[in-house]
Symmetry: C2
Subunit: 409 residues, 2 copies
């Protein structure tokens, strides 16, 4: 069975206009007016497709297509929110492909044994409100709801998740996590270069890398760059450069099992002729191997402490994120790979480097992800692009995997 590719592409274009940025991109921040507009359109399309539409208390939108039996639904989903100046596929593809699957089943008058559900999760990106993957996180951990509803916007403490949900009309009354899915499948763009470089059609995602984010602040003393001999300096910037160099080398060693990135840095006072008093930088450390992840963190922490102590500086360290690697369900991963092969597509079993709603759902029900190639691996960027044939292939894999799992009449 095949989806209607033209309808899918047209629909992706329709949503890309909501929050359009720099012609090819989208800026549709979670809980913004643009988010409301996209949600309103999705709700209308869900109703037109005959779905029962439920909104839970964290604003997740759940559309249910009845099956022959009253059992847990086979569930698809992703998110409609984006980063600032983002692309039009990250998130939206998983939601709109799910809608296309339902429309295609409707077109073919297919009735499944199990119900099928489609979820648009709230605030996956976390750009204005922490934490990210918010909707799926609360779906899996309803006990966090009250606390997260109080979460303030980074840019305006008056705005909370709860107040913005009310403002855009998506503060629902369905208890979070009250629906028990049979399974969960998320179609997503890879956001990395591997599938394209290896000329592979489909990624059957077996796991999500573990992610540790840490903010380090090294403190020394500001001194005049021209008048302070080297032995008298407490140069926080020089210490930071040594550590950052070590961090970069750490993932470039042969057989390294981790990825390291220093993505942000700031010096104080940040003046050309003043020795930096303070240097703050972040470490993004990832691995598919939990032991390697923990050991990498230990090694890097030890190096920083040694550098800082050697020159009489001080160190502050803030753990921002600690996600262990998540394994997806072997059976559901196998289903994705089988259905892709049955469609004549090439498949690579691979990890996800980025975090996704599916990793939260993995603690609720058997879950997996389907990746399609990203041109040049570019994402979180208005230049984000996945070729139409890949959008179509991924959606066909989703359709057939869901159909197999839900059981045809």
């Amino acid at each position: 069975m095949k989806i209607n590719a033209q309808r899918l592409l047209d629909n992706l274009q329709r949503y890309a206009k909501i929050g359009e940025a720099q012609k090819t991109g989208v800026e549709r921040i979670a809980l913004s007016e643009e988010d409301r507009e996209a949600r309103d359109l999705l709700k209308q399309q869900m109703l037109e497709a005959g779905l029962e539409v439920l909104i839970d208390r964290i604003g997740n939108m759940i559309g249910i297509r009845k099956g022959l039996r009253d059992v847990p639904p086979v569930t698809m989903g992703s998110h409609l929110d984006t980063v600032y100046q983002g692309g039009c596929y990250d998130g939206a593809l998983g939601v709109l492909a799910g809608l296309e699957v339902i429309q295609s089943l409707n077109d073919a008058n297919v009735i499944t044994e199990k119900p099928i559900a489609l979820i648009n999760f709230t605030n996956e990106e976390g750009v204005r409100f922490a934490p990210d993957m918010m909707g799926s996180h609360v779906f899996a951990h309803p006990e966090l709801l009250d606390e997260i509803l109080e979460s303030p916007a980074y840019d305006n403490a008056q705005d909370t998740v709860g107040s913005r949900l009310k403002a855009i009309g998506y503060s629902g009354d369905m208890p979070c996590g009250s629906m028990e899915p049979d399974s969960f499948l998320e179609l997503h763009i890879e956001q990395g270069p591997t599938l394209e470089l290896e000329k592979t059609d489909i990624g059957a995602v077996e796991m999500v890398q573990g992610i540790y984010w840490t903010l380090y602040t090294i403190k020394g003393q500001a001194n005049h760059a021209g008048t302070t001999p080297v032995p008298y300096r407490k140069d926080a910037g020089y210490a930071a450069s040594e550590v950052m160099h070590y961090i970069g080398d750490y993932s470039r060693k042969a057989n390294s099992q981790v990825l390291t990135t220093v993505g942000t840095i700031s010096f104080e006072p940040n003046a050309i002729n003043i020795v930096p008093e303070k240097a703050g930088f972040t470490l993004d450390l990832r691995s598919v191997d939990y032991e390697a992840l923990k050991q990498g963190q230990i090694d890097i922490d030890q190096k920083i402490k040694a550098v800082v102590q050697a020159v009489g500086l001080s160190l502050e360290r803030e753990e921002m994120v600690r996600f262990a690697p998540v394994q997806f369900d072997k059976e559901v991963v196998g289903l994705v790979a089988d259905e892709a092969e049955a469609l004549g597509l090439s498949v690579k079993r691979m990890p996800s480097g980025a975090g996704h709603d599916a990793q939260m759902m993995a603690s609720v029900c058997p879950s997996a992800m389907i990746f399609v190639p990203s041109v040049e691996g570019i994402s979180h960027n208005v230049k984000e692009l996945t070729h139409p044939v890949d959008l179509e292939n991924g959606t066909n894999v989703l359709l057939n995997a869901v159909l197999r799992r839900a059981g045809e009449d």
Copy 2:
């Protein structure tokens, strides 16, 4: 002969109130209202001390005490402007000590052979308007006047040097450089830790280090930190960290003849989970040895090019400042050392690590500087401090050196 130490200290305190910052500091940005207030007070005090007051076209204030002969004046001076959140001695000491010298000569009814002049130079710090050492620079190079009058403020292009000089009433009509000094002496705080650490009273400054400032911008490609394997990265931040580490090590090698500082850095997009696309940082390179300065710049440039080329990045390089080392006049330096020793003070012949108006005046007339100790070497900071006894000692050296050079009746 001795100065009136209490009057000097009281006067320093009086000026410290004009633009007072955090109780112990001063913020008196060049050409601001606070600068106007300090200039007005100085003009009044110059007139009360019987000086003829002239304002040149770049706003330098020149007060002249007649001598017996109509010959070039022995000249003292420094600047009343400060950096943001600066101290109350950097600059102000040299001007107010000069005023105290004249008041002391008046008190003792001393008439000198040569005239004596005191200059308050415009905008030595250069915090709002480029270039720094502006007043002395134009004094030495009057041909630059018209261009520099057009120089816009960093924070508001509507404000130019010329417009601000008019606004505060110090756009004078004396042609720049039209006064020919016999010699120039600047008393200044060391702004470094050497005199204090070596328990020395006076620095007889023989030269000013050469200064090269360079802005480097390394360009790579932004990529997702979780999904981009290391071989596919063009990480501008990692390349910058390797170069910065090299730069720091360069001046920490045994027998290094240079000082290196990376004082500023910026990443783009500066996001925790995005590989930096751009890394900009500055190099402050100094040496008393011109050959070592030039070789250091060559070595560092070569390292940067090698790092950037090895990983397929690109580089932009902007030369911001190129000052060769400046030698002061041997005779005037010797005069400073002799007069200090005659007063029973310990003296160290030393270079200046920072730039000063005296280095501009060195191309106009025989020049030198007198340094007094800075507590913990702290400067450009509200905690800047020089002990009263050192302020007094330095001013007494200035008095006696000027008196010797000007010739007593």
